[in-house]
């Protein structure tokens, strides 16, 4: 199978990689680029663990072929913190509110919530539920994740 050279900007860094046409973006990020923060839970687009931001919008990296995003901008969980390593408001809110347990689904939630709050900085309870309703979590029961989203909105408002 002939590999195809692609260029991705991942977390602000230009990365060049050669992948077969069938290589999933999730595998490309995890195994070719070493960014293992993006997780694969179902490989059929339901659980949301593999969610990354593609040009700022949340997508399922397990349903995306790497070659189809050649030239695009990708943010993974590794790119959410500030360049100095300081955690983003969303990340801080999750630890404040105990919004994670095993942490496997967490990167997908963080990417989803980061985009959600960028588009809607003060979501209602219903909007938060709707916003995270594409991500499965098997540990926390969601209550503290919902709380984390509201808290993140608060932190962002305080710091803006």
């Amino acid at each position: 199978m002939t590999d195809i050279a692609i260029t991705l900007t991942v977390n602000g860094v230009v990365r060049q990689v050669e992948v077969p046409g069938r290589r999933l973006l999730s595998d490309c990020l995890r195994h070719d680029l070493g960014l293992t923060g993006t997780h694969v839970g179902c490989e059929h687009g339901v659980c949301g663990c593999c969610t990354v931001l593609l040009d700022g919008e949340p997508v399922r990296s397990c349903l995306t072929f790497a070659v189809t995003v050649d030239g695009h901008d990708i943010t993974t969980v590794e790119g959410l913190a500030a360049p100095d390593g300081a955690m983003s408001p969303v990340q801080r809110a999750f630890t404040e509110c105990h919004g994670l347990q095993c942490g496997f689904c967490t990167p997908g939630f963080l990417c989803t919530v980061t985009a959600l709050l960028r588009d809607n900085p003060s979501p209602t309870g219903e909007e938060v539920l709707e916003g995270i309703s594409g991500n499965l979590c098997r540990c926390t029961g969601y209550q503290n994740i919902v709380k984390s989203v509201h808290r993140a909105a608060e932190i962002m408002a305080e710091e803006s």
Binding site: V46, V77, Q91, H98, G103, F104, I132, C137, G141
Partner: protein, 795 residues
């Protein structure tokens, strides 16, 4: 002790790495390892005639293909039967790769190793297995008719049969007592199959060091020490040459306590055979068809009671579907049968179960492990008694409660650990009082009438449970204070997201009087602690928590002894605060714990400034005794084990208010309340998180999750598209209240909390839907279409 961290909602120390993508889950490791994939049976029951691998040999990147015939003798044997209970007369386990027969869809037949997973799957697709398809046995009721057998040498498909009976105070059996009771009721209750479904599936990664002849295995497991022993035994390796590490584990919920999985033996064996690193990461479909399920049971209940609703006799017969194999024994039906009495004093109790083979995925514990079924039985029984007598459902429960002054209370049964089932402590009347207040039980009729006036149908339900937690046999803890003042804690059991790094650090910091930041915790790494059982049965905090506390107390005792020498004080006058040993009431006289650690270890070499203070010329030492006194060991460290006499018994009560849609029969949970008693709380934030997660899984079990098998033994919903688990939109806000009745059995007074949340949910939702609809609910989970059908047949 002023460093009070025990009982505080301390933020988790696990979080920063998990929030920044720095976690190390199984598939995050072994970047350059070869990858394995498996050809799995597409048939539920079939004889393997031939395996033709010729077409696969041309796949670029293929490294090896293995069938059963390629396995060495030890590995070719059936997998171990881990818990050989005497009642399991016909225990059967699978071979790591199928030998002649496959007994469920998904059973591994061929292992392929290739340069990466894509190529391994390419090769799998080209391997032709010739099967003689046999008719399968699907469903426990078909199995007991025994027209066909899952294992030719297991008559009637019955793997195990067990009866336990506790007579009445008058010495009468349950059946006699029921016949003589003023009132009797009989009914059948069903629960369907579900599964743990951690979002990270299973996975194994192995590295063989040929020079050293040692093996390192990483596995996404709930029991690294046991995987280590199994790997050493089945690969014929000396135990000290095998290390097993559970890295960050993405949820377990029971399924990852099973060991060794075929892959946990095959992947390390291939790594040795090939002299290369090998890894296997389970995909989701594999998890559905080749790991384990739970819950499916049929229960026939007969109960006798008096005019007050007091249960005089209870007789329950259980058919347990354990699938094709019994690697984990019959723990699930044992737990159902022994935990069924819950918080109640039953006059006489007889329980009988048969554990039955079917051509489906094997059954092993899933969070709650047999208890959701038990509680569904007992609580449905309480509701039916109340309905029969026209009594309030909570009043019928209250009249049957074991009272606070009756502990320890012996239920007269033998529990899953082979020990008497004796409740250690509890306060069930208080728990009920708190729950009724929290949910507003007494004012609900008015609410219901008001809703009815608006054309809405709402109902309230309740469920009570007692959970045996902290099951033995033991766990251990090792604590070491190094010369920089840091405290290193290790325990052999694992963590799958329960926050062990945090709660164990809280315990150590409290016991040793050091700041939390100075404590680090390692779990599930056999290099650090080789003796352990595992994380299951809500046992981690009770078992390792107490073991770590005991180890800390040893260290503390030694530290005070050494510091007393240095300070020329009596050890009894010393305390440790903020990492300093000081004389009580005399703040000037103190010595850092770090210095005590230096003093504990007489040295020859001054490798740093601290160490220079402990060399032979550093200070006065007695020439009358050796540098390390008899009976002493160098270093400020301690190891201890906690092995309980028997399990602790946590308890709780849940209530819910549901609304059912008059047209669509959709069931919506409006409110959900929990009163929970797990003894002393180490970290209330983490306990609440465990409750939330448990209730969410319970909501899944009550309303959505089921494994749908067709008559051919095909699992029709082996994907997240079709096996429904709740999202945020399906889980209600959970209101919680804590009651603390400390366990008298262990030094910290704690009971387990991990599984509790899930246990009563099906019973609670059934109770509430029944109240809303006025239709008996005897089968869970319940979907809108099932409720719709029930309405039609009732109407």
């Amino acid at each position: 002790m002023t460093t009070k961290l025990f009982g505080e909602p301390v933020r988790r120390r696990e979080d920063p790495r998990l929030l920044t993508g720095q976690g190390r889950f199984l598939d995050d490791l072994g970047a350059h390892a070869l990858e394995a994939a498996f050809v799995r049976s597409p048939h539920a029951h079939a004889r393997i005639r031939d395996v033709d691998v010729s077409a696969a040999l041309d796949v670029d990147g293929l490294v090896a293909i293995y069938t059963w015939e390629d396995l060495p003798d030890l590995l070719a044997q059936p997998l171990p039967l881990l818990i050989p209970h005497p009642a399991l007369t016909h225990g059967r386990t699978a071979h790591p790769l199928a030998r002649d027969l496959v007994r469920h869809v998904g059973e591994p037949v061929v292992m392929v190793v290739a340069r990466d997973r894509y190529l391994a799957e390419d090769a799998c697709a080209l391997i032709r297995v010739d099967y003689e398809v046999l008719k399968p046995v699907v469903g426990v009721e078909e199995a007991v008719q025994s027209a066909r057998l899952v294992h030719e040498d297991v008559p009637g498909n019955v793997g195990a049969h067990l009866v336990q009976e506790v007579p009445s105070a008058a010495g009468l059996g349950a059946r006699e007592t029921i016949e003589a009771a003023p009132h009797t009721l009989s009914f059948r209750l069903d629960i369907e199959r579900s599964a743990s479904m951690p979002l990270e599936g299973r996975g194994v990664y192995a590295r063989w060091d040929a020079d050293d002849e040692s093996l390192r295995v990483y596995s996404s497991t709930q029991t690294s020490t046991s995987v280590r022993m199994a790997v050493a035994a089945r690969l014929g390796l000396p135990l000290p040459k095998v290390e097993v590490i559970a890295p960050d584990v993405g949820g377990g919920f029971g399924v990852k306590i099973v060991h060794p999985w075929p892959e946990e033996l095959l992947v390390p064996w291939a790594a040795i055979a090939l002299g290369r690193e090998v890894k296997w990461t389970e995909d989701r479909r594999e998890h559905f068809v080749s790991s384990a399920h739970e819950r499916a049971q049929v229960h026939t209940v007969r109960v006798g009671f008096d005019d007050d609703g007091r249960v005089l006799g209870l007789d329950v017969t259980i058919l347990h579907d354990h699938g094709a194999y019994t690697p984990y024994g019959i723990i699930v039906p044992i737990i159902t049968s022994t935990q069924l009495p819950g918080p109640y004093r039953l006059g006489a109790y007889r329980v009988e179960f048969s554990s039955i083979y079917t051509n489906t995925v094997q059954v092993t514990p899933y969070r709650g492990a047999g208890r959701p079924q038990a509680v569904f039985c007992m609580e449905r029984t309480m509701d039916r008694i109340a309905a029969y007598l026209g009594a309030d459902r909570t009043a019928v429960r209250a009249v049957n409660f074991i009272q606070p002054d009756e502990f320890p209370y012996d239920q007269g049964l033998i529990f899953q650990d082979g020990r008497p089932l004796i409740y250690d402590s509890g306060d069930y009347p208080e728990s009920l009082r708190m729950l009724k207040e929290l949910i507003g039980w007494d004012s609900f009729p008015a609410l219901k009438a008001q809703a009815a006036a608006e054309g809405r149908s709402i109902g309230i339900g309740i469920g009570c449970y007692v959970e045996g937690t902290g099951v033995g046999p033991y766990e251990g803890g090792h604590v070491q204070v190094t010369s920089d003042g840091r405290v290193h804690v290790s325990t052999g059991l694992t963590s799958q997201g329960q926050g062990h790094e945090t709660v164990f650090a809280q315990i150590a910091a409290t016991e040793l009087g050091v700041p939390l930041e100075r404590v680090s915790v390692v779990t599930g790494d056999t290099r650090r602690f080789g003796y352990a059982v595992g994380t299951f049965a809500s046992r981690a905090a009770v078992m390792s928590g107490n073991a770590i506390a005991l180890a800390c107390r040893k260290v503390r005792e030694k530290a005070l002894r050494i510091a007393a020498d240095a300070l020329e004080a009596d050890p009894g006058d010393l305390e440790i605060v903020g990492g300093e040993v000081r004389v009580v009431g005399s703040p000037g006289a103190s010595i850092p714990l770090a210095t005590v650690a230096v003093l504990s270890n007489p040295l020859r070499y001054a490798f740093d400034a601290e160490a220079a203070r402990a060399t032979q010329f550093a200070g006065a030492s007695s020439f009358e005794r050796p540098p390390v006194a008899e009976g002493e060991e160098p270093g400020l460290e301690g190891r201890d084990y906690y092995s309980p006499l028997r399990s602790t018994f946590a308890s709780g009560m849940h209530a819910a208010i549901v609304e059912t849609d008059p047209l669509t029969a959709e069931i919506r949970i409006l409110r959900y309340a929990v009163v929970h008693d797990c003894g002393h709380l180490i970290n209330p934030m983490i306990v609440e998180g465990q409750i939330h997660g448990g209730v969410a899984q319970g909501v899944g079990g009550a309303l959505y999750e089921r494994m749908v098998y067709d008559g051919h033994g095909q699992l029709l919903n082996a994907s997240f598209m079709d096996f429904l688990m709740p999202y945020a939109t399906e889980v209600p806000f959970i209101e919680t209240a804590h009651l603390e009745t400390p366990s008298p059995l262990n030094p910290l007074g704690i009971k387990g909390a991990g599984e509790a949340g899930v246990i009563p949910v099906s019973a609670v939702i059934a109770s509430a839907v029944e109240d809303a609809e006025g239709i008996g609910i005897d089968r869970m989970p319940i979907s809108p279409s099932e409720l719709f059908d029930l309405r039609r047949s009732a109407g």
